[in-house]
């Protein structure tokens, strides 16, 4: 009897082995968070992040999305998408705040630059430290996903339903995923209204920013729409689908979260009411354009920090 049980378990183990291998590879990534440089805290006068989260069980995750095509060398990628997510399992409340990629801040690696460069200079640790130093939050974990990973995971769950807020028209969309020349352009036309998007179209919808008056801010809103649609579809995924998802995300996802935390998080994620998710995009008066050739976004910390303290205590 014990032998049969053992062999059945071995069959199950063999089924999940690729997923386990990928999970072990992608999760629990060590993060070296540089200590705040005097220049960064001194310049901003922003509060030092509190190490302990004040609400028991609540935690904050930094979601990072990157171009990782052949234009970039190794892990030196820009984070085109940076979203702070606060999850409170006790109240089942989630807050998502998109950080503009062009936000002009002191970087944890030294100097001042657009915040999307922090990762390229020092990996996830630098990205986390830069956000912590400037926003005065404590980040418990990070999740990084590449462009191809996003396409693959959406395709692996059979696409998502989204109400696209407007026609997304772009004559200069980067053809870095499909074409042979990563500096080529594609024409993109994602129609408006309720629709089913596959991975490629979903990426076009969240990535295009040329045909949007709000540029990166409009794109941040679209990214949050797609994340919520992903969450809605993920509730239909069964444990038996895990190997397929793991294969889709192979090498395209990294996180500091351990498997234990992920396992604890999954039932919470399924129980969260989408309508109760707070979505924040740092438009005016929280930021303003620089009016300069570099095209960076200037933070208004006197407006941002009270907001951050309210939603990311």
């Amino acid at each position: 009897m014990a032998a049969v049980v053992l062999s059945s378990a071995a069959g199950g183990f063999a089924y999940f082995l690729p997923a386990v291998a990928e999970a072990l590879d992608a999760t629990g990534q060590a993060v070296a968070v540089p200590s705040p440089t005097p220049s960064s805290t001194g310049l901003l006068g922003s509060p030092t992040p509190s190490i302990a989260t004040q609400t028991p069980g609540a935690f904050t995750v930094l979601l990072l999305g990157s171009d990782n095509d052949s234009k970039f060398i190794g892990d030196h990628v820009l984070t085109q998408s940076m979203i702070l997510v606060r999850v409170n399992p006790a109240t089942r409340k989630v807050t998502m705040m998109s950080i503009p990629r062009d936000l002009w801040v002191p970087l944890s690696t030294g100097g001042t630059g657009k915040i999307d460069g922090a990762y390229s200079y020092g990996g996830p640790g630098a990205a986390i430290a830069t956000v912590e130093n400037n926003f005065g939050v404590h980040i418990d974990d990070y999740i990084w996903i590449g462009l191809v990973g996003l396409i693959n995971v959406i395709n692996a769950i059979g696409g998502i339903d989204v109400v696209t807020s407007s026609p997304v028209m772009d004559d200069f969309y980067p053809a870095d995923i499909t074409g042979s020349n990563p500096y080529d352009y594609l024409r993109v036309a994602v129609m408006a209204g309720p629709q089913h998007l596959d991975g490629t179209n979903a990426l076009q919808y969240v990535r295009s920013r040329h045909n949007d008056l709000q540029s990166d801010f409009g794109r941040s809103q679209r990214q949050q729409q797609v994340l919520l649609a992903l969450r809605a579809k993920a509730t239909q995924v069964s444990a038996a689908d895990v190997p397929i998802l793991a294969a889709a995300l192979k090498g395209q996802i990294k996180t500091s979260m351990g498997l234990q935390r992920i396992a604890a998080l999954l039932p919470v994620a399924g129980g969260i009411d989408t309508g109760a998710i707070q979505q924040i995009v740092l438009l005016a008066p929280y930021t303003h354009g620089c009016g300069c050739a570099q095209g960076y976004v200037v933070p208004v910390w006197s407006q941002i920090l009270p907001l951050v303290r309210q939603y990311f205590p």
Binding site: A9, A192, N211, K233
Partner: protein, 389 residues
């Protein structure tokens, strides 16, 4: 000795079978979420399914299908076909979309290409992507001589908005006339719907008071005076007028066969969509009434005989858009007929006590629910349907 060997061999076989069995069993528990939708001709409608009047044309994965007498027929190969509209003589207008441009064609009701109406195909080898053009949402004017469509001109730099253009059928884009001015960096104006009066309904995208990008249904009686496409369109003589509020976030206008009721999709700036009806007198909309509020509704299309509204919506979140039918009784229930009452008049021949005149409780209203026509397909929810009697 032999029995021990047999026992060991049997156990080994049992272990192999149980190991493989658990592996295979787990495989069968996959949800197959990524399975491609069935082809309409292969799977549905179910036997004895509800039959819609006339012939309905829809698109899925770039192919055009007709639904007639409860059966689907594939009219074209899956080759970029989308956005259907009616053309005189039971023919169709359709957009054929490729990677870099799209064109409008006339097709027979059996899917044969009869004529190409636009020519956005680059004539010379040109690597400049912005030199290409999109034509979307074709509609014919009431006099059938003009093609209205969304076309991506004028465009400046990174801004590629769609504007509504009117082109003589058989003419070229150089003979076309600009009817609307799109707002900068919004995606533009789409879904033209020419009216018998010569006016035009369409969907405009603009930034609302809270700076959120929303859609609004507009009416213009003539080609709008060009203006700088700023955040707020001008109003007054020579310009269009909005029929819906920005916060309603409405699009996809569709008029009933008698032209007195508009069906539209309103999202109230959220990730849900409502099928909303409003009376239409040719210039204004009456009070709104949302008749479907619990589905992700798209492309409401009136039956030519006025017997109901077909629309697309997923049956399960994220599982592809199916065809649904909302019978007329669901949104226009008949007025209750007066119940004949016979009260004996006092002093009459009846000697029994006169019954009190307490009104009897009205029977509970019959709730008519939408009918799901297809089960496991994946229709293109951004492609209007076309319906002939």
């Amino acid at each position: 000795m032999i029995s021990r060997f047999l026992l060991a061999a049997g156990l080994a076989v049992l272990m192999v079978v149980s190991g493989i069995g658990s592996y295979v069993y787990l495989g069968t528990r996959q949800t197959h979420l990524a399975a491609a939708p069935k082809e309409p001709t292969a799977a549905v409608p179910r036997p004895g399914a509800f039959r819609l009047p006339g012939t309905l044309f829809l698109t899925q994965s770039g192919a055009i299908y007709s639904l007639s007498a409860g059966r689907f027929h594939q009219l074209t190969p899956a080759a970029g076909w989308t956005q259907l509209a009616l053309y005189p003589g039971s023919d169709l207008l359709a957009v054929n979309r490729s990677r870099l441009y799209s064109d409008v064609y006339i097709l027979s009701r059996f899917g044969a290409v009869l004529r190409r109406l636009t020519n956005n195909t680059p004539t010379v080898r040109n690597t400049d992507t912005s030199a290409r053009h999109w034509s979307f949402y074709p509609r014919l004017s009431y006099d059938q001589r003009t093609l209205f469509m969304s076309y991506d001109e004028p465009k400046v730099g990174y801004d590629v908005p769609l504007s509504i253009w009117a082109m003589p059928v058989g003419g070229t884009i150089r003979q076309a006339r600009l009817w609307t001015t799109s707002i900068d960096y919004t995606g533009g104006d789409i879904q033209p719907l020419p009216l018998a009066s010569g006016a035009l309904l369409y969907t405009k995208f603009l930034y609302g008071p809270d700076n959120k990008l929303v859609s609004q249904i507009w009416l213009t009686t003539q080609p709008e005076r060009p203006y700088q496409g700023l955040t707020a369109p001008p109003t007054g003589p020579g310009y269009g007028t909005p029929l819906t509020r920005p916060d309603e976030d409405c699009s996809q206008p569709s008029l009933s066969p008698d032209n007195h009721t508009m069906a539209m999709i309103c999202t109230y700036k959220s990730q849900v969509s409502y099928l909303t009806l409003a009376s239409f007198n040719g210039s204004t909309l009456g009070p709104r009434r949302s008749v479907i509020t619990n589905q992700l509704v798209a492309q409401p299309t009136w039956a030519p005989d006025g017997s109901g509204i077909a629309y697309l919506a997923p049956a399960v979140a994220g599982a592809g858009f199916q065809l649904w039918w909302l019978p007329r009784l669901a949104y226009a229930p008949p007025l209750p007929s007066p119940v004949p009452t016979t009260f004996p008049s006092p002093g009459g021949p009846v000697s029994s006590p006169v019954p009190s005149q307490t009104p009897t409780a009205a029977p509970p209203p019959v709730v008519i629910k939408p009918i799901q026509i297809t089960l496991n397909l994946g229709f293109d929810a951004t492609s209007p349907m076309a319906w002939i009697p």
